[in-house]
């Protein structure tokens, strides 16, 4: 795409007609390769491509899978992961990782259920739980930036601590009997319109807000800057610590929101198992969607597609009634293929002489300098 644009803008397009046929063909094919590869390298391209392929193949082989109803169920199932994947993407871009989101969801879900059982008004419950999410994110952020504990360790400790607190509080007993019709609607177990639930709308709003934040706000630019090169960002006057704390707070709040919705969706919260392992699914969705584990790169839109792709994969295998022992293998292979596809796209695009000055929101492979925020 870039090569083609250069030709047009530099006035070489007319002289290109005089080139020899071979050179012209070579240039054209190079252009096509770069064109395709630059698209493949875009965040979210791999899961998008996978979803399109599924639509084509299953649309022919088994139309029920890709029917509107089919997509409704798969998207409705994805929203909980999408929400935490958006938060995870923000944290990954700033150069961190938040492994506490699964436990954060579980605490939020159990707290929502218990407060409702205790007769607290629903709106107040949600405010309280979201504030707990803020607190969890704040503690994570402070531990990482001011105490100096590595992101992985701090959030891993928070994962364990939150789950432990939940188990102590509930003594391992599930929170039951809190779901009202209204909460079922909020949680997405009941539709508000054909093929539409409240969590879908909320997730859409969060995804748009996340994209706007990362692309068009000062905080978004600072998040990219800190994740791309923390030292340089600090030298430029970016308050890197505050930026990082803000990212963890965003992640904590979104985990709490996802937990609130999940409690309404499931109608029961089991302290030991609810949302267990969601943190890894969030990481997988974010990375599939183009986020870099070394920071500086990622896309909210890509994370959404990544989360949907993960749900589609598992649903697809269930649909085909694939032996579950093979399912895990196939899910792993498909994730790997998607990641390889994306990586190949990045390499080809980079080698192809991509010289365009990168915009902040554009996907760029970044080697992050050691962080000292």
């Amino acid at each position: 795409m870039i090569v083609a644009k250069k030709k047009t803008t530099s006035g070489h397009a007319s002289s290109a007609a005089n080139d020899s046929g071979g050179a012209q063909e070579h240039r054209a094919s190079t252009s096509t390769v770069l064109n395709v590869s630059s698209h493949v390298a875009r965040p979210g391209a791999a899961p998008a491509l996978f979803i399109v392929l599924v639509c084509i193949v299953m649309g022919v082989a088994s139309p029920g899978f890709t029917s509107l109803n089919g997509w409704y169920f798969m998207v409705n199932e994805s929203v909980f992961i999408i929400l935490i994947a958006v938060g995870m993407t923000v944290v990954l871009i700033v150069g961190g990782i938040d492994l506490s989101v699964g436990s954060g969801m579980a605490v939020a879900a159990a707290l929502s259920g218990q407060l409702l059982l205790d007769g607290v008004p629903m709106a107040l419950v949600f405010v309280i739980v979201l504030l707990v999410g803020v607190a969890v994110g704040l503690v994570n952020g402070l531990l990482i930036t001011y105490v100096g504990i590595p992101d992985f360790i701090a959030t891993l400790a928070m994962l364990t601590a939150l789950r432990g607190v939940l188990l102590i509080w509930t003594q391992g007993n599930p929170v039951l009997g809190y779901v009202t019709h209204a909460y079922g609607v909020i949680g997405g177990s009941t539709k508000i319109a054909p093929y539409l639930t409240v969590p879908m709308l909320l997730t859409l709003a969060v995804a748009i807000a996340g994209s706007v934040l990362l692309r068009y706000t000062v905080l978004g630019r600072h998040i990219h800057a800190v994740g791309g090169d923390g030292d340089a960002a600090v030298l430029m006057g970016v308050r890197a610590k505050r930026v990082k704390i803000a990212c963890y707070v965003i992640s904590g709040v979104l985990a709490a929101l996802s937990g609130i919705l999940l409690a309404g969706y499931l109608s029961q919260v089991s302290p030991g198992t609810t949302a267990s392992g969601y943190e890894l699914m969030a990481v997988a969705a974010a990375v599939l969607g183009g986020a870099s584990l070394s920071g500086g790169r990622g896309s909210v839109f890509g994370a959404c597609l990544g989360a949907i792709a993960l749900t589609v994969i598992t649903n697809l295998l269930s649909w085909w009634n694939v032996n579950p022992n093979w399912s895990d293998v196939l899910v792993g292979v498909l994730i790997l293929l998607a990641a390889l596809l994306q990586r190949a796209g990045v390499i080809v695009a980079t080698r192809g002489g991509q010289t365009k000055r990168p915009r902040l929101a554009d996907p760029q492979p970044v080697t992050r300098a050691p962080q000292s925020v």
Partner: protein
């Protein structure tokens, strides 16, 4: 959870046993059921003073042979005096099935403390998840160093690894009591523990579920299975189910894993049912997945079993949530794997071995039963009774 609030009320409030015939005090009931389990232990054909002698005697009389008078209490109290049972408990993960086992254990410990003046301490370690087995194993090793003399464990760790750890622990004087494991899958002599207290996942869970499905569906129909993570429990229950359904008119037409959690059970059931909802039953291997399956049936607008038609949903565990779901009609049946009884029998075996020096049966299986709308009140009452005993760190 509000229904499960732990009542730390006094002993007199707990004397009557809900669900038991009138006149049965807790003390009398505990003694009687101890004899029942001795019979079960005897039936396992494992040599042992408790199982062999008490079991055969019970079979002959049909009633408890346990001494229950003040003289026996005093005799046992002499053994208990000066001894403190230092117990460790570690289940596979934090869930109310295991909490029920713990409450059952505390019911029995409280009884023994009152009767014999038994002193005990109680350490608990709950791993972060079903697969977090390394932490469990290292905790067992730490407990051995700490000098605990009895560990109750349910683990999903590799069998060979656990057995070597258990062997080493017992060599250092820390006795192991496997709880809710899968003793039926291994030769009794290969299990390095004092007793494996649980139930037979094959014949007492999977098989019973199959029998219930055959009976309820008039021996004809199509069913889905929503199964837990690959492992010994899943293997044994599936074998039992298949043995029951062999040659019947019930066909397994779909099988997916829900990995023992609600949302994955829901996702698996949704996917299976969206593909083909023309099924008569779904067996979810544990309660959490059973919740997911019930939600899937509801979300797709399908009809749960009403006694004559609809989709039969059955699961295995036997927890408060199961009985509540049976009560409200979202779950058809559950195989009650009797967690409370497992906890109690663990402590009974412990008293006999640790304090009195007996050799309990190597495998002690508690009774199990399929529970549905017709008979849920008894196990529910028993469950709630056990929960009146608060969990503490000891006495």
């Amino acid at each position: 959870m509000s229904d499960q609030t732990h009542d730390s009320g006094n002993g007199s409030e707990r004397e009557a046993v809900p669900g038991m015939p009138d006149g049965n005090t807790r003390r009398g009931f505990l003694r009687r059921s101890a004899g029942v389990v001795a019979a079960t232990a005897g039936a396992t054909s494992v040599a042992g003073a408790l199982g062999g002698v008490a079991g055969s005697a019970l079979a002959a009389t049909g009633d408890s042979v346990f001494p229950g008078n003040a003289a026996w209490d005093a005799a046992v109290a002499k053994y208990a005096a000066g001894n403190t049972l230092k117990i460790g408990w570690t289940p596979t993960q934090g869930e109310d099935f295991f909490t029920a086992i713990e409450h059952g254990a505390f019911a029995q410990l409280t009884e023994y403390a009152e009767l014999f003046g038994l002193k005990y301490t109680w350490d608990t370690f709950i791993p972060t998840g079903f697969s977090a087995v390394e932490n469990q194993i290292s905790t067992v090793q730490a407990w051995v160093q700490k000098g605990l003399n009895a560990i109750m464990i349910c683990t999903a760790a590799d069998y060979a690894t656990t057995q070597s750890v258990f062997k080493a622990a017992q060599a250092k004087g820390t006795n192991i009591y496997e709880v809710n494991m899968f003793a039926e899958l291994y030769p009794t002599g290969s299990i390095n523990c004092v007793s494996a207290i649980g139930y037979d996942n094959n014949t007492q869970a999977g098989y019973l579920a199959g029998e219930y499905l055959k009976k309820t569906l008039n021996n004809k129909g199509r069913i889905y299975l929503v199964w837990g993570s690959a492992g010994n429990w899943a293997t044994s229950r599936l074998a039992g189910l298949k043995a029951s359904l062999k040659g019947s008119g019930i066909e397994i037409v779909g099988f997916q894993r829900g990995n023992y959690v609600e949302d994955q059970g829901l996702a698996a059931a949704l996917s299976l049912l969206r593909h083909d909802s023309n099924v008569n039953g779904i067996y979810a291997e544990n309660s959490e997945m059973g919740v997911g399956v019930s939600l899937a049936v509801k979300q797709l607008g399908l009809k749960p079993w009403n006694g004559t038609s609809g989709i039969v949903t059955i699961t295995s565990n036997g927890k408060l949530s199961d009985y509540q779901n049976i009560q409200n009609g979202t779950l058809t049946a559950v195989v009650n794997c009797n967690p409370v009884e497992q906890g109690r029998q663990s402590i009974i075996a412990m008293l006999y071995h640790q304090i009195l020096g007996y050799t309990p049966a190597a495998v002690i299986n508690v009774p199990t039963k399929v529970i549905d709308k017709t008979n849920y009140t008894e196990p529910l009452a028993y469950y709630k009774w056990a929960y009146t005993y608060p969990l503490t760190g000891g006495n």
